[in-house]
Symmetry: C2
Subunit: 218 residues, 2 copies
DNA sequence: CTCCAATCGCAACTACTGTAGCTTTAAGCT
DNA sequence: AGCTTAAAGCTACAGTAGTTGCGATTGGAG
């Protein structure tokens, strides 16, 4: 019971449980894509997957649980980080990747649901945090390459540059709900770059522990 | 029927409808503060306000409707924009205002609920957008004063500087759910300032109409 | 003072979400 | 193959969110 989590991946890929999980998670993605987060329901997922609703309730507990699990799966797939030879273009490319990820008619609703679910459930929140941490790590290459090329000063906090670059896009998409123009994206990327150049985003000894994370209930 | 919205404020402040609205909205804030967005319910608000639940459903339709209306009320109250004589400190102050607005034990849950509700309902989304637009306008003085002082180049998009400054905080609070340290805030403010200095955030002729707002359902 | 229109209160009802108790199935082991 | 046990299926039900139709109240106009 204690080791189950780490053993999960060792179980037979064709076992009944695995089959059920697969069916349910795929149904989750499908439901999210066509009904959105607000329209998705546990019973809907159960019906579509052919799995009984009590089973879904038992294993995933709620819509947010389903989304958290789906999010864990999604962490696997890689990201086509750009490599143009110029930080400016690379950063703009990363920001554009983010936007299109939410703009795409099929993937967009799913991605948005992840963000919405993370605001309602602590489990979904950690799943999303881990997902995005992985993405930050991946995208940080863009900055490190720039340092090697001499485009940026060394000692920079690469992931923080990424965060500053994408933050305005997320802010517009999920907080102010303003439209995000191509120019907005360019300005966000270029602003992060300018900040990086002036040394504001240097990596610092993390002596500061003034925590203030936003805890969702449940 | 067509003019009702604009006439709303002209109605007697002590009329029955006004009394009901007041009681309900106050109950909404109270419920949000102690139960949070996820725990708030229309019936709870009705019970606390002493107004029948049918009435609440009829006038506000849902929890999100209640929040949207409460948000409209909240737009009134002013914001203690700092004026230290230095853009750097002023910007940092604005960012700190944002953080504490969500950190405060009584106001925090309410403010967070506004953001969460805007993700679920289109009405709440426009209410929040208008609210934040007002705040951006207020905070922009900080930048304009800096331009007058010669600290920043003229022709700058003052509100965009504010957006870039606060975006990383919102990103951490509501997207990645990472802790927000004092250093994180300083870096966000300083990054926006650096970008502003290098002229990346100049106001531009808005020829770009590549819209991509995030539409919530309902 | 009387009447009109709008709004609110009320009770009953529908539909749906999530749970409980029990039975059945199948994966893995010897 | 036969046995054990964890997990899935099923029925029934409890609780709650949201609706409807109608009667009562209120505020304002003539």
């Amino acid at each position: 019971m204690q080791l189950e989590l780490s053993l999960e991946s060792l179980k037979r890929p064709g076992g009944r449980s695995a089959r059920v999980r697969d069916a349910v998670l795929q149904a989750t993605l499908a439901e999210l894509a066509e009904r959105g987060y607000g329209g998705m329901t546990v019973e809907g997922v159960a019906a579509r997957s052919g799995v009984h609703k009590t089973t879904v309730y038992r294993r995933w507990r709620s819509v947010e649980g389903l989304i958290a699990d789906a999010l864990e799966m999604a962490r696997e797939e890689p990201w086509p980080i750009p490599d143009t030879g110029s930080v400016r273009e690379d950063l703009r490319g990363v920001v554009a990747l983010v936007r299109t990820g939410f703009a795409d008619p099929s993937a967009g609703p799913v991605a948005s649901a992840f963000v919405a679910a993370a605001m309602q459930s602590a489990d979904a929140a950690v799943a999303l945090r881990e997902f995005l941490t992985a993405r930050h790590r991946q995208a940080a290459v863009v900055v490190r390459r720039a340092v090697e090329r001499g485009e940026l000063p060394s000692g920079i906090d690469a992931q923080e540059v990424i965060r500053v670059a994408v933050a305005p896009v997320y802010y517009r998409l999920f907080v102010t709900h303003e439209p995000v123009s191509a120019q907005d994206m360019e300005r966000a990327a270029d602003a992060a770059l300018a900040a990086a150049r002036t040394g504001v985003l240097q990596a610092a000894p993390h002596d500061d522990h003034d925590d203030m994370s936003q805890e969702p209930p449940g």
